[in-house]
Subunit: 320 residues, 2 copies
DNA sequence: TTGTACGCGTTATCAT
DNA sequence: ATGATAACGCGTACAA
């Protein structure tokens, strides 16, 4: 509401002088400078970003886009992004898909971090630009001005399965996630590859379909209990399904890990409660690093490689 | 990136004509209109909000402000806000405190919903305006252009305590939250009032300090177990503390609800896992209604009363 | 230290 | 039916 003009009027000087003071230029008398700063303080003046960008053509605003409100860890990602950006003098605005499209067009943002799958590649490619670089999370887009930050699923899943094999497990079951998801694909690929490398057969009948929801894990485990062919260990593509599976197993009076071991992936909040052995993905750090990548693109120090976030196994009490 | 000018060039017409087509005015030939619409479609034209607001002085952008990334239910609130606003043609941008102050000054937003306590009343009063109304959640600010949406803690806590009394409980303990918080104050007031109304004494020694964190509940319950003066029931100002308390009780080999009953408040995600009896606050609905209040203020149909969200008791298995 | 032209995308007004 | 152009608001930059 209160702008540079108002300040000028109050101080009895011209707008130019106020502008000079605000931008720390030295061509202003000490006394005038102090009076102006005093007034800015009093009325809580803050420069109008639009006005600023109007002239310079540049802003310091970054858009973060998401739309899945069910995933609590998104807040951690946002916090990571927020922290890095505010440490580096950028403003963050968080948008859900429909409004993101508006704000990514307007030249009032300097770049974007995109998490929402609904924001299609075609659109991203159409707006990505030297003047408007984009970081996408959990997907890969081939474009000079789009950088990917993805979780390194493969390595950690391989490590998990290898360790399980070393512990003596041979008879594996797997509950998969949405098949089109990159996360699922990588996790399952690592699972089968590691078994193969160890010459351990994986029976396709021990693969159960899921969609990352707790219910799908529950249903899958119910099917397992009916099959009279219980695997020794049930590896799940995420925690929700692992927890659903454990509920079903418990209801059928199987003990975990007594009768069957279970592992998850994500380290969701509930995983700790259920003492589930899982893989912890550093969400905060992903956000932080995504923001860092974006700022580096903005500053021209571009890194062409896909940025991979490494995850860690959390051994708890659902594996024998 | 692509604006009205570009469209005009592509269609071989003037910007005026394009503007007329976009705004559905009838002074354009059918053929020209169709050609222009076609091009807009092809290149994915979307009107530039800044340019628009520059001319009209109005926008349809609403700012939502928060800063506590630990509270998962904030996502539900955001979803509620997002849904109402998008149903009603407004754009939502979510900001954390520092950038919110920028965007609430710039006249590019039409109003704001504020959740963050760090956004002080003084600032809110200074920006609230007929042209920029504000809805605050979980606090009360006395200003014509600021509307409050708060959770009705008192009624539901009274109901909870009264029901516990009816069940036969007489010896109550209480773990409080941050004392300056309105939520805590109302919950504790309802607690003591209801006991008083039933002529049940509450020993001040059965009040334990907490700060809404799980650790504080854990510590409080450890003190309780050392006191040799166990209450029959422990009412907690929120779920986190109730869960912390239950962990401590379990570690000291007390059974819940066998030896002592426990209640929480919030219906956090973990509450279900722990089968904790608690109070469910409709978070999604709070956000939705806050957005609704704001839009009504913008449209001039102002409702002077404080908007109260009512909550519901969820009976689970931590009360005998 | 001041005056003022300029930049942005869109819309309204007035001409053609 | 279509076009040319001023105006909107805020901050910056450059000449005075």
């Amino acid at each position: 509401m209160v702008g540079i003009k108002d300040i000028a009027k109050m101080a009895g000087v011209s707008v130019s002088t106020v502008s000079n003071v605000i931008n720390g230029r030295k061509n202003v008398g000490k006394e005038t400078r102090e009076r102006i700063l005093q007034i800015c303080e009093e009325v809580g003046y803050q420069p109008n970003l639009i006005g600023k960008s109007l002239k310079s053509g540049k802003t310091n605003t970054i858009v973060f886009n998401f739309s899945d409100f069910e995933r609590n860890f998104y807040l951690k990602i946002i916090k990571g992004i927020n922290d890095y950006l505010s440490e580096n003098g950028f403003d963050l605005i968080v948008c859900t898909t429909s409004s993101s499209k508006n704000f990514m067009r307007n030249n009032f943002a300097r770049g974007a971090i995109v998490l929402d799958k609904k924001m299609d590649n075609e659109f991203l490619v159409s707006v990505a630009d030297e003047q408007f670089p984009i970081v996408v999370m959990d997907r890969i887009v081939n474009n000079d001005y789009i950088q990917s930050v993805i979780v390194e699923n493969y390595t950690v899943m391989s490590e998990l399965v290898q360790t399980l094999i070393n512990k003596g497990f041979r008879n594996f079951g797997y509950i998969g996630g949405i098949e089109s998801s990159l996360d699922h694909q990588e996790r399952f690929q690592a699972f089968t590859d590691t078994l193969k490398n160890n010459n351990i057969p994986f029976q396709r009948t021990h693969y159960y379909f899921g969609d990352f929801t707790e219910e799908s894990g529950y249903r899958a485990a119910n099917i397992i209990t009916l099959s009279n062919n219980l695997p020794e260990i049930l590896v799940c593509s995420n925690d929700n399904m692992a927890i659903g599976a454990m509920k079903a197993l418990k209801e059928s009076n199987y003990s975990v890990p007594g009768d069957i071991s279970v592992t998850g992936f994500d380290d969701a909040t509930a995983a700790e409660t259920y003492e589930l052995t899982t893989v912890a993905i550093p969400r905060y750090e992903s956000g932080y690093l995504a923001a860092k990548e974006l700022v580096e693109m903005i500053q021209g120090t571009r890194n062409k490689d896909i940025f991979k976030i490494s995850a860690k196994i959390k051994w708890r009490n659902t594996v024998k």
